[in-house]
């Protein structure tokens, strides 16, 4: 493992310190927590998200006016604890209640749920939206369900804008529940991710291997095979993703090409070009696009593609609205 760090067991705290020093105009931390809060707190519903660390810029990079009110940073790849989430909820409430945006992992769901219970005991209105955009996992009652991955960032952005516009907690919950059903993501990895404290990658791929359908914590995918060209990868991802939509009539969609950490921007753009070409074979009109590192998996090489249904123009407006955050 080669990393520019100090103590591997302190890496989340060290990163957080650096982040706060670098962005003291936008964000601050609650003392003695790993909770990042926006300095600017209008009287609106506060959005709270978070999860394990290692997905930078998610989630702290999306804290600020027009997106999240606060982000809770867990240990590397480990859901944060309820007391930390509770602190975030308390710091995010201005009387209009708090909406939790939670990625669908057993740990996150349970820890955020417990925090919600604790906050409600303190008289704060809390609701939550569960993001489960990763179609690599089957959504059956026999599994923990689909995982929440890069599409989560689009939920932050859209609900963040609507919260700023003054929508109520109930409205945001309702809009959010519908929204997450229209966001779908699929990822590929060229290498595993190395958690600093573990010191070795979660999985290893041969020099000519890739894996389709990996999660953002090195969860296994659905197929391992020889490294394909960008064109072939885009074909597979696009074909699987468009199946999630009804494309009898031309549908307005948005695209998010997300790097997993170690993949250069150059490759993301090469891939984006192939995605656009591939989509010409399908009944869609691309009205929004975003290319970059938004929800990473530490130093994993690879990328994910997210599609979002933007037939509802308020979603598109929300995506295009200006924000004051570190990493949108």
């Amino acid at each position: 493992m080669k990393k520019i760090i100090n103590d591997a067991s302190q890496v989340v705290g060290d990163m957080l310190k650096g982040m706060l020093l670098a962005h003291d105009d936008l964000i601050e931390a609650i003392d003695n927590t790993n909770v990042v809060v926006a300095k600017d707190k209008p009287q609106t519903v506060g959005l709270v998200s978070g999860g394990g660390s290692g997905h930078e810029p998610a989630h702290a990079g999306f804290v600020g006016d027009g997106m999240l009110r606060s982000a809770v940073l867990g240990e590397m790849f480990t859901s944060p604890t309820p007391d930390q989430v509770l602190e975030a909820i308390k710091a995010s409430d201005t009387g209009q209640g708090v909406l939790l945006i939670v990625k669908n992992y057993t740990g996150d769901v349970m820890n955020f749920d417990m925090a919600k219970e604790l906050a409600e005991m303190e008289g704060i209105e809390v609701d939550s939206v569960l993001v489960d955009d990763d179609i690599a996992v089957e959504n059956s009652t026999h599994t923990a369900g689909k995982r929440g991955v890069a599409g989560t960032v689009l939920v932050h952005k859209i609900l963040g804008k609507l919260a700023r516009d003054g929508h109520t907690l109930q409205e945001l919950k309702q809009i959010g529940d519908a929204l997450v059903q229209d966001i779908h993501t699929l990822g590929v990895a060229l290498s595993g991710a190395t958690v600093p404290e573990v010191g070795k990658p979660g999985f290893t791929l041969d020099e000519d291997e890739m894996e389709y359908g990996v999660g953002i914590h090195g969860e296994p995918g659905y197929r391992r095979e020889q490294l394909k060209s960008s064109r072939e990868i885009s074909k597979e991802l696009v074909e699987k993703l468009v199946k999630e939509y009804n494309l009898n009539e031309t549908k307005k969609i948005g695209l998010l090409v997300n790097g997993l950490g170690a993949t250069p921007l150059m490759e993301l753009y090469v891939f984006y070009q192939d995605v656009v070409n591939e989509l010409k074979n399908h009944n869609v009109e691309v009205v929004f696009k975003k290319v970059g590192n938004f929800m990473t998996s530490i130093d994993m090489a690879g990328l994910s593609l997210t599609l979002i249904d933007l037939e509802d123009s308020s979603r598109l407006d929300a995506l295009n609205a200006p924000v004051h955050v570190v990493s949108w």
Partner: protein, 194 residues
């Protein structure tokens, strides 16, 4: 079979030692079908528990269980934090009424099931807790109960938690949460039931 506060304290501190000793093993088990952090998650938790418990003087059973619950909830995170936390929280609540061991462990099991919604044979820690709770209640408990319960998670396919993502590939591996729960019950045998 009442659990005194002093016994409870020794029980949990013995659990801490077992987790510390098997930290790497638990993570390796989790690496196979999960994300490889169950050992470090649990270790982070029981270290905090140890610290808190050592601050208590002559605690009641309820105090020990509640202190353990709070420390685990606030230090572990992941899936196992809320699950172990809920187990000890339910035990602490029950301890207000009774400190009978079978009732306590049964309450812990209920806490886990309520929080995690897992059923028997979903290949989770429930598969360690349920047979132990039952055997304690029926008076059929032996050391073998624990080993058997843990071992029985091997042939199961995971239906809950991170291991469910690997589908059939989870068959043949021990469930890490069941193994760590096994340590909890072995510690109980060594410190209380011996």
């Amino acid at each position: 079979m009442e659990l005194t506060g002093e016994q409870a304290q020794r029980w949990i501190l013995c659990f801490q030692e077992k987790i510390e000793k098997n930290k790497a093993y638990l993570s390796d088990l989790d690496q196979a079908i999960g994300d490889g952090d169950h050992g470090s998650n649990m270790y982070r938790g029981v270290q905090a528990v140890k610290e808190k418990l050592n601050e208590l003087e002559d605690p009641t059973t309820e105090e020990v269980l509640k202190t353990t619950a709070m420390a685990l909830i606030s230090k572990v995170g992941g899936a196992s934090g809320p699950l172990y936390g809920s187990a000890f929280m339910q035990m602490a609540k029950t301890a207000k009424e009774t400190t009978e061991l079978p009732e306590l462990i049964q309450a812990g099991l209920e806490g886990i099931k309520q929080r995690g919604k897992a059923e028997l044979k979903d290949k989770t820690m429930v598969d360690a807790w349920a047979p132990v709770a039952e055997a304690l209640t029926n008076g059929t408990f032996s050391n073998d109960t624990i080993d058997q319960a843990v071992e029985d998670t091997k042939p199961l396919q995971a239906k809950k938690g991170r291991a469910s993502y690997v589908g059939e590939r989870s068959i043949g591996a021990l469930d890490p949460g069941a193994v760590s729960s096994g340590y909890l019950f072995t510690a109980l045998v060594e410190e209380v039931l011996k």
